[in-house]
């Protein structure tokens, strides 16, 4: 599904982020990536999403070499194949909940009816025509999850999705993400600081300057 081949990335001579990083994520796998601040977790996500480019090495998603795509192609690929969940939700305030969810569908030229199905799945039935300012943080993240999955992407990238949420809500959301990924037969990468959050993934990797190292305890081998 996702293959990282000998990735090297640096922002400057002094600031080498990765050196020769390789990793393979299998289809249907949901992995959590942990690591210290500044170790390059977000950079890794950006490289995978085609928003940033490695100095050397290749990122392959389903056989497509992301690093070879130009900005336009990368965007089109991203639109179809990826779903994003952000720490601060990034729901467009002037669109209704269902319009927000429908965005990826419309972008891919698909009919918009699946948006409401997904909203129902994330537990927001009846809230379709609400505006984002009427929703709580947890609800907003549910919308984001729906938006990330509505167009049935192969890979979901979630960057600290519970960073802005209280523990109880966070737990619900993490469960929801896992369930939805599994239900939609997608793969997923969850980047987080939180041990508890990471525990909801199939297994946990720790990002170090030396590469991705499997954590001692993988809850769901």
């Amino acid at each position: 599904m996702l293959e990282l081949r000998h990735i090297s990335k640096s922002y400057s001579k002094e600031q080498q982020v990765f050196t020769d990083l390789s990793y393979i994520l299998k289809s249907g796998e949901y992995v959590a990536i942990m690591g210290d601040s500044g170790v390059g977790k977000s950079t890794l996500l950006n490289l995978i999403a085609g928003l940033d480019f490695p100095d050397s090495g290749e990122v392959l998603i389903d056989g497509t070499t992301m690093s070879q795509l130009d900005d336009e192609m990368a965007t089109l690929f991203r639109r179809k194949a990826l779903g994003f969940i952000f720490q601060s939700f990034h729901i467009l305030p002037h669109l209704t909940v269902s319009q927000n969810v429908a965005l990826p569908l419309l972008l891919n030229g698909l009919p918009g009816n699946r948006a409401n199905t997904l909203l129902a799945e994330v537990g927001l039935q009846g809230r379709e025509n609400d505006f984002p300012d009427q929703l709580s943080g947890g609800e907003l993240q549910r919308v984001a999850i729906a938006r990330a999955l509505v167009h049935q992407p192969k890979l979901i990238l979630a960057d600290e999705p519970t960073g802005n949420l209280d523990p109880a809500t966070a737990h619900e959301i993490l469960q929801l993400i896992r369930n939805e990924i599994k239900k939609n037969s997608a793969s997923g990468i969850l980047v987080t600081h939180s041990q508890t959050a990471a525990a909801t993934a199939d297994y946990i990797l720790t990002l170090t300057p030396q590469g991705l190292i499997p954590a001692k305890a993988s809850p769901n081998p």
Partner: protein, 848 residues
């Protein structure tokens, strides 16, 4: 102290990050102030010069005695010279003569003052001629004239050259004996001996005024009363101050209107400041609320934002003053002070920097900026701290309903003001109505934007699944406050442009039609207007009548008349008028008495609109005007439109005039060609008349063209205003788009993540810009149309005393709309480009 320091930091930080917008806001203020200030400077300089020139003519006299008829019997002079309490009486004969060489150019008149050097020496020494060495007698010779430098330059004459002036139908030579002691720059006058002037120019026995110097212990008012009791009703006694008043009154409506228009431009600038400030606040919303949370009091926060406005306003206003001053100096040097109005023709005034006026304009500019900041600040200060801190929703939580109410209040108040009468003969309420209309219209914008874009969104949603259009529309509909703020600049400026364009075109078309009506004949002849006996005599009329090729000729007698010494002269026109069908000769309004209802026992008089406003000469009233010095009663039979004489004119039956005055001479003739005669033939036959040198022969086509040229020149300033308004409007669009684009960096970042291409974001911005501008243009159009109605039906009649019909300059409006639309979309695009090119990755991260 610490707070001040903090406040300084915040200010600098804020300005560093949005330097471009700050510049735009400052530019808007500066342009508004500059425009207003330079117009004001030019006008007041011209007026000062005008009154200084006038003063130099009137000299140092205490009082001047005039006659409402213009000229009066010279025997008043010895009477006044020996009158108790009068130290010195200075007789003056003032008239204009046509310069023979310049006869065929439009500008051909020279003002001539006949003076007695011995009497003038102590009262108006500036007017004394400077004869050549050893030729002192030239000062009172019978064949000499002294010319001001401007007149010499204009006539290209030097000392000892000969100047030919037309008198009635002959040209007389005068030797240029020298210059004048002191003449104002640009003041074109000739001075000659009063005795010679009376004789050469056929003013024997007549004077124009007598200037009086009183004994030093004289009581002006008591003396004036005593003297006016002894003089008959036709005389009036004025002081220099009266004349200045009269002078300033003549041009006041024109000056005030220009200043008002400049203020409207400034006003438009204030919307720009407002929108810049609001957008900047929106962007910093959580930062500002954070400050509140940190312990900034409401007042401190308010002060912080207002301080920004003050600094902005100060920089803008000061640079505006500098630019305005520079422009004024440049305009005076390159063009003239006239600004195309013909009020201050030929003067070369000096621009004086008046600190008081400058501070006034500075204050206006500053308050505009502060007001903009204040309105913006109020919103944020009243915001709910908690929700604002948390919310990613950036639309202002303005209470739409409340704003709509305010807007409606403004609009209805504005409507009410359009029916109020003028104040001090100025359309103050008319201008207030325009301001209220603009404010009301803009305040109504959020509500209107919501209405329009929601319905548009719904209907478009059904038709198209294009996410770009959907997103753009959704944004317009649901973030309508922001949209309307951005729009306010477009709205105000476009509204202004539309209003001006409609007004100017309506005016021009009306003038055009009026010209058709007042110039029915093919050719017009006028006699050089020198001397009261200088008109066409009986035999000369006969000769003209007998010329071949003409089927009809009408002869007129036109002369100036003073009804009220505190007002400029009116014009009396005596001509043949078909009493039963006056519309055939006069451009009548609907205010006319049925010709068959006219009273048999009184003479009919048709008055221009100004007469109704200024003198109360309403239709059906019996009024009195002096004919040949005797006040006669007339019946006002109708009102006609007159764009030529702002201070009033009356027309009467020629036969009535002749019966009353015994004046059988004419100074104007209208001639109709028969179908066989070509214009050039007729022209030639007129030119071959023995007295043709003194005749001004004009084709009505030519008069038309000249009149419209003058019209266009007068409105050149309004075109400048329109251009400034357009620039301010576009600046506004660009500013608000770039502000929004920056504020929406996160949104764009997210969209890029989920697969929206750069191009799509840009097109979304362009579409948004398009929608927004379209709405702005449509609303601006409606607003502008309303304003133009106020200008046409309230402001113009109140200040210039003329009405006009409404005409729409569709082509021009379409063109401007197109330009605005394209440039607004383009501005949106440009603003977006900058944002899209910033780091998309960083923009979605919370911890940057």
């Amino acid at each position: 102290m610490k707070i001040l320091q903090l406040s300084g930091w915040l200010l600098l930080a804020e300005w560093r990050t949005r330097f471009g917008q700050i510049i735009v806001a400052i530019t808007a203020i500066a342009m508004g102030v500059a425009l207003g200030f330079s117009i004001h400077l030019i006008n007041s300089a011209a007026l000062n010069e005008f009154s200084a020139a006038n003063k130099s003519l009137a000299g140092q006299s205490d009082l001047q005695v005039y006659n409402k008829q213009g000229f009066f019997d010279e025997m008043l002079y010895p009477k006044l010279a020996q009158y108790e309490g009068i130290k010195q009486a200075n007789p003056v004969l003032e008239f204009t003569a046509v310069v023979s060489d310049k006869f065929h150019s439009k500008d051909h008149k020279l003002k001539i003052l006949g003076i007695d050097v011995f009497r003038a020496a102590s009262i108006s020494p500036d007017l004394l001629g400077v004869p050549a060495e050893g030729k002192a007698m030239d000062s009172f010779a019978d064949d000499t004239i002294f010319l001001s430098p401007a007149a010499m330059e204009w006539l290209q004459l030097e000392q000892d050259d000969t100047l030919f002036l037309n008198v009635g139908l002959e040209a007389i030579p005068l030797r240029v004996a020298g210059g004048l002691t002191r003449a104002r720059a640009g003041q074109r006058i000739g001075v000659m001996d009063i005795g010679a002037a009376q004789w050469r120019f056929h003013y024997l026995g007549l004077l124009s005024r007598i200037e009086l110097k009183l004994e030093s212990n004289a009581q002006y008012e008591a003396f004036k009363d005593r003297l006016s009791k002894e003089l008959d009703d036709n005389f009036y006694i004025s002081e220099i101050a009266d004349q200045e008043k009269r002078l300033s009154k003549m041009s006041r409506a024109y000056r005030v209107n220009l200043n008002m228009l400049a203020l409207v431009a400034l006003f438009t600038g204030s919307f720009l400041v407002f929108s810049t400030q609001v957008l900047s606040i929106i962007r910093r919303r959580s930062q500002l609320v954070f400050l509140r949370v940190m312990g900034f009091t409401r007042q401190q926060l308010l002060l912080q934002i207002i301080t920004e406005g003050i600094v902005l306003g100060m920089i803008g206003a000061i640079s505006g003053l500098a630019i305005g001053y520079g422009c004024a100096v440049l305009v005076i040097q390159l063009l003239d002070a006239d600004l195309g109005s013909n009020f201050f023709y030929g003067l070369k005034p000096t621009i004086y920097f008046n600190l008081w006026d400058a501070s006034l304009f500075f204050m206006i500019g500053l308050s505009v900026a502060v007001l903009g900041a204040f309105l913006a600040a109020k919103e944020i200060v009243n915001a709910n701290q908690a929700s604002a801190l948390k919310s990613s929703h950036q639309d202002i939580a303005m209470n739409r309903a409340q704003w709509s109410w305010r807007a409606l209040f403004c609009l209805s108040l504005g409507l009410l003001m359009t029916v109020l009468p003028p104040v001090f003969e100025l359309p103050i309420f008319g201008y207030m109505a325009i301001a209220l209309l603009l404010i009301g219209g803009i305040a109504l914008m959020p509500w209107l934007a919501l209405l329009v874009f929601s319905s548009l969104q719904n209907s478009v949603a059904r038709l198209s699944k294009n996410p770009i259009i959907l997103m753009a529309l959704a944004r317009q509909a649901n973030a309508s406050n922001q949209a309307s703020i951005a729009l306010s600049g477009v709205l105000a400026s476009f509204g202004l442009i539309v209003a001006m364009a409609i007004m100017v075109l309506s005016f021009r078309e009306s003038v055009d039609q009026w010209l058709d009506h007042v110039l029915p004949a093919d050719l017009y002849i006028s006699v050089a207007d020198s001397g009261i006996q200088g008109g066409l005599r009986d035999d000369e009329q006969k000769i003209i009548n007998q010329l071949p090729g003409f089927i009809r000729s009408d002869f007129f007698r036109v002369q100036p008349l003073t009804l009220d010494p505190n007002r400029p002269e009116i014009t009396l026109i005596a001509r043949p008028i078909d009493t039963l069908n006056p519309e055939s000769t006069l451009p009548l309004t609907h205010d006319v008495i049925d010709p068959y209802q006219l009273p048999k026992d009184s003479m009919p008089l048709w008055v221009s609109e100004a007469m109704v406003d200024l003198y109360g000469f309403a239709v059906g009233k019996k009024v009195k005007i002096p004919i040949d010095g005797i006040w006669r009663e007339f019946f006002v039979a109708g009102v006609w439109r007159d764009y030529g004489r702002q201070f009033g004119a009356v027309q009467m039956q020629l036969s009535d005039y002749q019966a009353l005055s015994n004046d059988l001479s004419f100074n104007t003739a209208a001639l109709w060609l028969d179908t066989q005669t070509a214009m050039s033939e007729a022209y030639t036959s007129l030119q071959q008349l023995p007295f043709s040198d003194a005749l001004e022969i004009k084709q009505s086509q030519r008069i038309r063209k000249t009149s419209l040229d003058i019209f266009d020149r007068s409105f050149a300033v309004t075109y400048a205003l329109e251009i400034v308004a357009i620039i301010i409007g576009l600046l506004g669009v660009a500013a608000s788009f770039s502000a929004q684009a920056l504020a929406r960096a996160k949104e764009f970042g997210m969209l890029r993540h989920i697969g929206v291409t750069r191009k799509q974001i840009l097109s979304m911005l362009a579409v948004e810009g398009f929608f927004m501008t379209t709405l702005g243009i449509i609303l601006g159009f409606v607003l502008g149309w309303c304003i133009s109605l106020i200008l046409i039906f309230v402001v113009n009649p109140q200040s210039f005393h003329w009405t006009m019909e409404l005409y729409m300059p569709w082509n021009w409006l379409m063109l401007i709309s197109g330009i605005m639309l394209v440039s607004a979309s383009f501005a949106a695009l440009l603003a977006g480009r900058k944002t899209v090119s910033v780091d998309v990755i960083r923009s979605v991260r919370e911890d940057w």
